[in-house]
């Protein structure tokens, strides 16, 4: 078996995976609800969690850029390596871009984002109904793209495990990890 990911890398991966899974489910669910206090509450929670993901992804990137991940399994084709890099790069872009689009959308719609009701994020855009709707459409399109990409990510992990019989999946699972370097 090649080296597994460190427990820090695993922690980032799984905490964010859970958060993002919840966020996607909540986001798609709440958007179609009729207006109610519960809906407003869910929107606030969604925004708080989104800001949390946004902060976490920067910490994760900082970690990623200062720590080499385990090498690809021996014999992995160049094309597959490239696809893996491109896929992971796109996941990072979306993990940053989606919260930003949500934040800007909130600003344009005139609802400031205040993290946990305590830390206000500046409104970078003034209130503008048309722009608000465009950003809402963008936020939604990016999320649909995100769901597709996560599907590809999961499929790739399963494919590697079952078809290529390498340890791509196992090395990210909880369990034995090398110490942080």
């Amino acid at each position: 078996m090649t080296t597994p990911y460190t427990s820090t890398a695993k922690g980032f991966h799984w905490v964010m995976a859970l958060l993002i899974f919840g966020m996607l489910a909540l986001g798609f669910y709440m958007a179609d609800l009729p207006l109610s206090p519960q809906k407003l509450q869910l929107y606030s929670w969604h925004k708080w969690a989104g800001v949390t993901v946004f902060f976490l992804v920067w910490l994760r990137l900082l970690w990623r850029l200062t720590h080499r991940p385990p090498a690809h399994p021996p014999g992995m084709a160049k094309l597959q390596q490239g696809a893996a890099h491109a896929g992971h790069f796109a996941l990072y872009v979306l993990m940053i871009g989606i919260p930003v689009s949500g934040w800007l959308m909130s600003s344009a719609k005139g609802f400031q984002t205040v993290w946990f009701g305590v830390l206000p994020l500046p409104d970078l855009l003034g209130r503008d109904k048309v722009l608000g709707q465009q950003l809402a459409d963008l936020h939604s399109a990016l999320n649909i793209g995100f769901v597709v990409l996560i599907g590809v990510h999961l499929a790739a992990a399963v494919l590697h495990h079952l078809l290529y019989k390498d340890d791509i999946l196992r090395r990210m699972l909880p369990g034995r990890s090398p110490p942080n370097t």
Partner: protein, 193 residues
């Protein structure tokens, strides 16, 4: 002539300005409101976050002389369906039964009962605000800012939405939409009708 005017112009202008200001201070009472330079807005806290909006249509009727505030006659009628909360679904929700119920109570009405001066350019306005068939006495501090022949009358006050049964049923708790609603107004008052 032009030479004479050039020399005299600054003092003449200063004199003219002084006269204009002096005159405006003792101008005829304000009798009308310039609607395109006037605004009635509100703000409230939703999940702890301040949200604001405004009413596009309102009808003020004023007769206000800053020198004789006790003779003030003022009322303002607000077309509640003209609300702009910033979101279409909220605009639709607040005209419904649990909020304004505009089909039964289309207008909010404020009528001033007593106005007195409390400081230079500051007046205390006592009056009755009626929303959704509920009348409550309120007190508003109003600032008068002379602007030539016009005057900006501005102020704000907090109302408790529960006093007017705004937000019944599922909205009646204050955890998501706070009870306090800050109402603000800026009216550009003019002398003529």
């Amino acid at each position: 002539m032009s030479h004479f005017f050039k020399i005299c112009y600054p003092p003449v202008l200063a004199l003219a300005t002084t006269l204009a200001l002096a005159t405006s201070a003792h101008a005829a009472p304000y009798q009308a409101v310039q609607m395109d330079k006037s605004r009635v807005g509100f703000s409230f806290k939703q999940m702890g976050v301040s949200v604001d909006g405004r009413f596009a249509k309102f009808t003020p009727q004023i007769s206000f002389d800053p020198a004789k505030p006790e003779q003030t006659k003022a009322s303002i009628e607000i077309d509640l369906a003209s609300i702009d909360t910033g979101s279409d679904e909220a605009d639709q929700e607040v005209v419904g039964k649990s909020w304004f119920n505009t089909s039964a109570f289309p207008k909010a009405l404020f009528v001033a009962k007593q106005v007195k001066q409390t400081a230079p350019h500051v007046f205390e306005v006592l009056g009755t605000l009626t929303i959704k068939g509920r009348a409550r006495d309120i007190k508003v501090a109003m600032k008068h800012t002379p602007q030539g022949a016009q005057g900006l009358l501005s102020g704000s006050f907090a109302l408790q939405r529960a006093d007017y049964a705004l937000g019944e049923g599922m909205w009646s708790k204050f955890d998501v939409v706070a009870n306090d609603i800050q109402v603000s107004f800026q009216l550009t008052a003019i002398a003529g009708k």
